[in-house]
């Protein structure tokens, strides 16, 4: 099944610079329908008003972290199937494991390059 590159993608990060970087990389990969949120709480509000085909989220954000957002998404009957990729500078084993246990689809460690992002997107959405 081919990947619908027009699907809305939600990028969640409190650093505008990182949002811009991810948005540009996604654009290079053909994903131009990109929305953004500055923390888990506002991301959750957006997800409850419109469907997203993919969420790419940072971890360290206030007042709701990306990890808490992930748990909320997986606990929500309507949102639980949303593909979710964590993109974070956090590089401790126990946190990677915790994220996987909470249901994250994949995990990217910052800094990352376009090939890594493409690889993880394909692992979650399918080859494109």
């Amino acid at each position: 099944m081919s990947v619908d590159k027009n699907m809305p993608v939600l990028v969640v990060d409190d650093y505008k610079t990182m949002v811009r970087i991810i948005r540009n990389l996604l654009k290079q990969l053909g994903f131009e329908n990109v929305d953004e949120a500055a923390d888990g709480s506002s991301a959750l509000d957006k997800m409850r008003t419109r469907p997203y085909g993919l969420v790419i989220s940072d971890w360290n954000m206030e007042p709701m972290t990306g990890y808490e957002l992930l748990k909320e998404v997986r606990a929500d009957e309507k949102l639980k199937s949303t593909p979710f990729i964590m993109v974070t500078a956090e590089a401790k084993t126990e946190n990677v494991i915790a994220a996987k246990k909470a249901g994250v689809n994949n995990y990217i460690v910052k800094p990352f390059n376009a090939d890594t992002l493409k690889g993880k997107l394909e692992s979650v959405l399918g080859t494109f």
């Binding site: 540009n24 956090e90 590089a91 990677v96 994949n106």
Partner: protein
């Protein structure tokens, strides 16, 4: 021996319910016994005055020993406080509070601004290059070259931020040395955990429980390949056993 020990030995612990008994001087005890054996009709004013004088003398002796104890303790306290005062003076709390720490805070904010500005400039140039159409952009090679030069210029932020961060690191090192020095001057071992630390605020508690530690040093961080290996494992649950 700590100052409080000398007082405690003189009077017993202040926490005691029963005061430590002080033996009565022998001559006073004898005088009281003699008077108690007399017929009340035979008692003279001189007898009462004699007992009163003996009582006063014995009380004076107790207070004299107490004076010595208090004096010794005061000397120790004065030395202790002087040591702390010298330590505080070396610490330079005035300069630290009014100059060094505010300057470090300003430098940190400038680092954030510098890096954000550089990142925006670099991305702006990159976006402009990507958006340009070689077919329609006038002097496309020159245009690309100009954008690339702007990227190189923006990368000079690393020199500026590096200097700022070095200044901040020096301030922190200095602060750390002075804190340890003053702690030792007042007899506090900074290596021991303290139970007297200010209680954690709700915000601090939330951050400790929810925020992770952010970027690790290159020596300790796991890399993408390590993360991918973890994700490839089928039995993550066993890692929690």
């Amino acid at each position: 021996m700590a100052p409080s020990d000398t007082v405690a030995r003189a009077f017993g612990s202040l926490d005691d319910d029963e005061p430590t008994p002080v033996p009565m001087p022998r001559d006073l005890a004898d005088a009281i016994s003699e008077i108690s054996r007399k017929d009340p009709k035979d008692l003279q004013l001189a007898d009462a005055l004699r007992v009163a004088e003996m009582s006063l003398r014995s009380v004076r002796a107790v207070f004299a020993s107490l004076d010595e104890l208090v004096y010794a303790e005061s000397i120790m306290l004065a030395a202790y406080l002087n040591h702390a005062r010298v330590g505080l003076k070396d610490f330079g709390p005035g300069k630290l509070q009014t100059t060094d720490l505010p300057a470090a805070s300003v430098e940190l904010n400038e680092v954030v601004k510098n890096t954000e500005s550089a990142a925006n400039a670099i991305m702006g140039s990159a976006e402009a290059i990507l958006a340009a159409d070689p077919e329609t952009q006038a002097d496309y090679p020159g245009f690309v070259q100009a954008q690339v030069l702007q990227i190189f210029e923006a990368c000079s932020f690393q020199d500026i931020t590096g200097q700022r961060i070095r200044k901040i690191a020096e301030t922190i090192d200095s602060l750390s040395r002075h804190v340890e020095s003053i702690a030792r001057a007042v007899g506090f071992d900074p290596n021991l955990a303290t139970e007297d630390a200010a209680p954690e605020s709700d915000k601090e508690k939330w951050r400790r429980e929810n925020l992770v530690h952010g970027p690790q040093t290159t020596e300790t961080a796991i890399v993408q390949n390590d993360v991918d290996s973890l994700f490839d494992q089928n039995d993550i649950d066993s890692l929690f056993d």
